[in-house]
């Protein structure tokens, strides 16, 4: 399957903190294939979120390059980056970030509306996605009426509904108990198979490891190892 989806070339990210420069990512190089199911692990502050930001085109590296299917994100304008996110990336957050005033259905519809699609044309697609994550009978509820696990399912449906190439999920299970985490991960795994969208998590959660095919560990902004399910381990 492995055509390359994301390439990181010697990526550094510095943050200016007062007078000092703080190195959040230091010389990170990495390739992510189409349809990958992988995670960034590592202690708090190791740079996981920063890395997802760069891949998602929400931020730019200080030096080095991020490539999406061979296209360099650094050459894109702010607008083009917005279009890149709109067309290719689905986001999932630790705190779900559903819109509280909208129903489940409307929350899943939301990214399609942003993409300029008409509700009448995508209604079936949205309903299908909601059913896919097992919430067909909760379609008209508001987020406040749902459990955490259900909220994260809505978020998954929302990320997948526009059929993105890549889903970025920052600690998606951190707010869930182990049973819910398990269900969410199994769901994501299943959808990764079905929809062929690559999924990149960041996580602290040891339990996640069981489901993923590749684990990249960050420490102090550098990759300390890159482990694949088939046993090969690349030390750096």
């Amino acid at each position: 399957m492995s055509e390359t989806l994301i390439t990181l070339e010697r990526v550094c990210k510095l943050y200016q903190v007062g007078e000092e420069n703080f190195t959040a990512l230091n010389d990170v190089s990495l390739e992510v294939g189409n349809g990958a199911f992988m995670s960034f692990v590592g202690p708090s502050g190791s740079g996981k979120t920063t890395l997802l930001n760069l891949i998602g085109g929400l931020d730019r590296p200080t030096t080095g390059s991020v490539l999406f299917k061979g296209r360099r994100l650094e050459n894109m304008s702010r607008e083009e980056l917005a279009a890149y996110r709109r067309e290719n990336i689905g986001f999932i957050f630790q705190t779900y970030n559903l819109l509280p005033v909208y129903s489940v259905y409307e929350n899943v519809l939301f990214p399609l509306i942003l993409n300029g699609q008409k509700e009448s044309q995508v209604r079936k697609r949205v309903e299908e996605m909601v059913a896919k994550v097992g919430l067909a009978d909760q379609m008209n509820k508001k987020p406040a009426q749902l459990s955490g696990g259900q909220c994260q399912r809505v978020a998954i449906a929302r990320a997948l509904v526009k059929d993105p190439m890549l889903i970025l999920a920052d600690e998606p299970t951190a707010n869930l108990d182990s049973e819910n985490s398990r269900q969410i991960l199994e769901l994501m795994q299943e959808l990764n198979h079905e929809y062929k969208a690559a999924v990149i998590f960041s996580t602290h959660d040891e339990r996640v490891t069981r489901y993923i095919r590749r684990e990249v560990r960050l420490e102090d902004g550098s990759i300390s190892w890159d482990k694949r399910r088939n046993g090969t381990e690349i030390e750096t």
Binding site: L58, R60, F110, L114
Partner: protein, 423 residues
């Protein structure tokens, strides 16, 4: 999509603001235009043709500076102005009013400044113009020879009642002394103290007889239909002025040094300056309310921006460009502004309309002011008033939203993940 709570507050702000502006502007228009109309109808006309020599010493009523050739002048005025304008001949006269006692001997003498106008011909619009019928509190309008209408307060001071005879003593057109008897046919109350205390009205033909002014008048007052824009007065005035220059040598009975001039209401009694000030004040009122609305809406926008911080962040993260997000908000603001303005106009407009129909009695405070202000204040509902409410309403809503969304423009995508995590 929809969020009622988010909509309700700015909508209410706009509606209340616009309602206040519309009502206030309507009220101010009413007071001010009421005064202007009163002045125009009684005294200045919208346009006025008068001999310059008379105008310069108007307070002395120099009848020897009147204008001759009444019919010819009227024809010229009609021909050189607009069909809409009604030209009314007037004589401004001054005389001593002599009130006799039962024996026919002088009881009191008072100088009066009066006005003579066409009160008797059937097609005259003067009676309607001054609302004489409804102002009459006692007696009748002049119908017979040498009859007089008198302000009710003046009659009270002089102890005159309807039917009594008085004598006018003054100077004739050619400088001689004249004395003529009039009968007080009725008393009028305009509700304008300045007039009720001083006003004496007689018929034009009677005045021409009394003052030996056959075929002469002191003034021609031109009246536009009620809804005419004030700027139209000026325009017509200018065009008539050019015509006037060619015409001046013609009328055969005019004196050599006669120099008739055309004035608009603006040119008289400082009314132009008052009108300009009124416009400025009105602008201030509208401006201040608009500013306050922008201020409140801006803060409301910031609050709802915080309320919607998550949504805005998501939209940006999901790839909605900044400009489109702001455009969406601006359109939202436009709608809220529009709906709020319409609602506010209806509320403020009905209030102003109520004041227009019913009036608000200001009692003695105005009565003593000596201004030509009616004691009963009426608002005036005009389309202008609505425009002055709706435009600022929409403007304030959009501007408030835009200022509030400056924050969005500065918000960088880089922190979205972390911000959203925190939320």
């Amino acid at each position: 999509m929809r969020d009622k709570a988010r909509f309700l507050f700015p909508f209410t702000v706009v509606a209340v603001g616009v309602a206040l502006v519309v009502a206030l502007v309507g009220f101010m228009e009413g007071v001010f235009m009421g005064m202007i109309d009163m002045t125009a109808n009684l005294d200045s006309g919208h346009l006025r043709l008068v001999n310059k020599a008379f105008y310069d010493e108007e307070h002395l009523r120099p009848l020897d500076r009147s204008l001759a050739n009444q019919q010819e002048t009227h024809d010229w005025l009609v021909k050189h102005s607009s069909m809409q304008v009604d030209w009314a001949p007037r004589i401004r006269w001054g005389a001593i009013l002599d009130v006799p006692d039962e024996k026919g001997e002088t009881r009191s003498q008072t100088p009066v400044m009066g006005m003579a106008m066409d009160l008797k011909s059937p097609n005259s619009r003067e009676i309607e113009r001054l609302r004489l019928k409804s102002s009459l509190v006692e007696g009748d309008l002049p119908k017979g020879f040498n009859e007089m209408l008198m302000g009710v307060q003046l009659a009270e001071v002089l102890g005159i009642s309807v039917g009594q005879s008085v004598t006018l003593m003054g100077q004739s057109f050619d400088g001689g002394m004249v004395a003529d008897n009039y009968q007080v046919s009725g008393l009028v109350r305009f509700g304008v103290s300045a007039m009720d205390k001083k006003m004496v009205l007689i018929d034009l033909v009677d005045a021409q007889n009394t003052f030996y002014m056959e075929d002469m008048v002191t003034d021609w007052l031109g009246y536009f239909p009620p809804s005419t824009d004030l700027d139209d007065y000026e325009e017509l005035k200018e065009s008539m002025r050019t015509g006037l220059a060619d015409w001046i040598p013609h009328p055969k009975d005019w004196a050599k040094d006669d120099a008739p001039i055309i004035l608009s209401i603006r040119d008289q009694q400082n009314i132009g300056a008052i009108m300009d000030k009124f416009r400025v004040i009105k602008g201030f009122v509208v401006g201040i309310f608009t500013f306050l609305m922008v201020l409140v809406l801006w803060n409301a926008g910031i609050l709802s921006g915080i309320h919607r911080y998550g949504e805005m962040g998501l939209r940006l993260a999901f790839g909605e460009p900044h400009w489109r997000l702001i455009l969406t908000l601006a359109i939202e603001g436009l709608w809220i502004g529009f709906l709020g303005s319409v609602a506010g106009s209806l509320v403020g407009g009905s209030f102003a309309w109520y004041l227009q129909e019913v009036g608000l009695n200001m009692g003695d405070s105005f009565a003593q002011s000596g201004l030509m202000i009616n004691d009963v204040v009426r608002a005036r509902v005009t389309t202008d008033g609505f425009v002055q409410g709706i435009v600022p309403g929409i403007f304030a809503s959009v501007a408030g939203t835009l200022v509030a969304s400056m924050a969005i423009f500065q918000r960088s995508e880089a922190n979205l993940f972390r911000e959203l995590e925190a939320g």
